[in-house]
Amino acid sequence: MVALRTVYRWELRKLAAQKRTYLGLGAAIIVPIIFVVALALQSGQPEDVLFGRYVRQSGLAIPPVILIFGSYWLFPLITALVAGDIVAAEDHNGTLKTILTRSVGRGRIFAAKALAALTYAALALLAMGLTAVVGGVAKSGFHPLVTLSGTTVSGSRALLLIGASLLVYLLPLFAVASIALLLSTVTRNSAAAVVGALMVSLLLQLIVIIPGLGSLQPYLLPTQFNAWQGLLRTPADYAPILRAIWVCALYALPCLGASYLVFLRRDVAGG
């Protein structure tokens, strides 16, 4: 039986051969660049966003600002762009029957696809993080960062915390990827899966602001996009991170399980 890593490597190579892959990666890179260029061209700063008032004091304040901005729709969209397409595109190209009649079981193919979609989300986030750090440092310098508690951490410590924040930010992104993967498997239509995953993400954000539903807020997916902020407090607050782990798992695992079962049992009557 062919190893999972072989199938996974080819899923990545397929992604690398598609334009849509670079669309999402390009967006992840261009947004911090636009932000830095706008800072260079204008005199103000985004006062109403956390860390916004420090973007001219330390370039390391820029990645957190982009993380907050990106949580509304940018990163869910980038993630869904590939996760929503990764199964449906096989239907569209008529290639599902091609790969399912080789020497690899359906379960392994699904696992490779899920891993590839998650890898892409992580890569896009990493690309954004690196660009934001490089661009921010180029614009405002590698200086200490003021945390959400008002204390100051050194530049190297802040860099470490930003790295850790990106890891925590991956949790809700993986949940979004799982939702998109489920829609991709069930609808067999890339556009429906990408838009559907984004709609789910936006609807959950709407629920956050509906009066009277405040008690639900800690358990909604959009809230988990803020869990990383616990790292940028003194002392660090790990409670939102721990909650994000299980809340995101509650979103991701049923979606992954359902899409796995659908993929395993579905009739391939078309693609």
């Binding site: 397929k14 051969a17 290639t95 029957k97 091609t98 693609g271």
Partner: protein
């Protein structure tokens, strides 16, 4: 005794109220070039998909070399290759890259067979071009190359000649014949009856989801009986003679000739009777039924005109 390459028993596939495949039984023996024939919508491709484990039958069971694809998964497809409907490839990758990926999914020595497979289907020159720019015929040939990577013992081909030019169709026939001579069992679904007649030793003919004949091509032709064609100096009088004779059946008049069914002895006696009646015989010749004749008889006639012996052989 080794299990046959393909064994389907009582296979049914229903989509809601529609029965696409209705209790199909098939046995493809090792070394067969097996033609699977039927009009559009008869359920041929659905059966092929069930054979390859792409579709779950509503009832019945499929086995490839004794293994059920639904129970044994990809392991049941060891030694099996082919494609259903048009072969699907990634349009944004080159032909070679597509084959490299499929070889990686096959494992074993598949990657080492890429160059040879490309050469066999004459795509070596276009291997570095993206599949998105390939013609339909080139994709068909790439589909065959992808199948050859698996060094198959059983090759399942669904309309392999579709989209090929006459030379491509000839090459495809030559390739199938060559693979068969080398010991590969071939299950071939095709609309090209002449192709099937030339290549296949056994056939199944399906109609509205049901197999109406399964067996040796020679047996199928025997079910047709002997048809004769006659032209005389006076076909009106000849028709009267024909109707009056015993052993002459199915007499029909065409614009150009008379047709009837008879044994060779009855036809010989008829020729004497025609001469005695003062008629000169311009032509009296047996007509061997072609697969096309039989196909249309089995798939277009009323269900109760299908020879009872046909389904009995299944």
């Amino acid at each position: 005794m080794a299990a046959p390459p393909v064994e389907a028993r009582g296979v049914v596939k229903r989509y809601g109220d529609v029965t696409a495949v209705d209790h199909v039984d098939l046995t493809v023996e090792a070394g067969d070039v097996y033609g699977y024939l039927g009009p559009n919508g008869a359920g041929k491709t659905t059966v092929l998909r069930m054979l390859l484990g792409l579709i779950t039958p509503t009832a019945g069971e499929v086995r490839l070399f004794g293994a059920n694809p639904l129970e044994h998964g990809a392991a049941a497809l060891d030694g099996v290759a082919g494609f259903v409907e048009a072969p699907g490839f990634y349009p944004y990758m080159t032909g070679r890259k597509n084959l490299e990926m499929l070889a990686a999914l096959d494992g074993g020595g598949a990657a080492a067979r890429i160059d040879e497979a490309l050469e066999i289907v004459e795509l070596t020159d276009r291997q570095r071009h993206r599949v998105g720019g390939y013609s339909h015929g080139m994709r068909q040939r790439l589909g065959v190359a992808a199948a050859l990577l698996r060094d198959p013992k059983l090759l399942v081909l669904d309309e392999p000649a579709t989209g090929l030019d006459p030379a491509g169709m000839r090459d495809m026939r030559t390739l199938v014949a060559r693979l068969s001579l080398a010991g590969t069992t071939v299950l071939l679904s095709s609309h090209l009856l002449a192709e099937v007649e030339e290549l296949c030793n056994r056939v199944a003919i399906v109609r509205t989801g049901r197999v109406v004949f399964e067996g040796a091509l020679a047996d199928l032709k025997r079910t047709a009986g002997g048809e004769w064609r006659l032209r005389t100096t006076d076909d009106d009088r000849a028709l009267t003679v024909l109707h009056a004779r015993r052993g002459i059946d199915g007499v029909r008049r065409d614009p150009l000739e008379l047709r009837f069914e008879a044994t060779e002895e009855a036809a010989a006696e008829l020729s004497v009777a025609l001469v005695e009646a003062g008629l000169a015989i311009r032509a009296l010749a047996p007509h061997a039924a072609t697969l096309e004749d039989l196909f249309f008889r089995l798939t277009e006639g009323e269900p109760d005109t299908v020879p009872a012996s046909a389904t009995d052989t299944a």
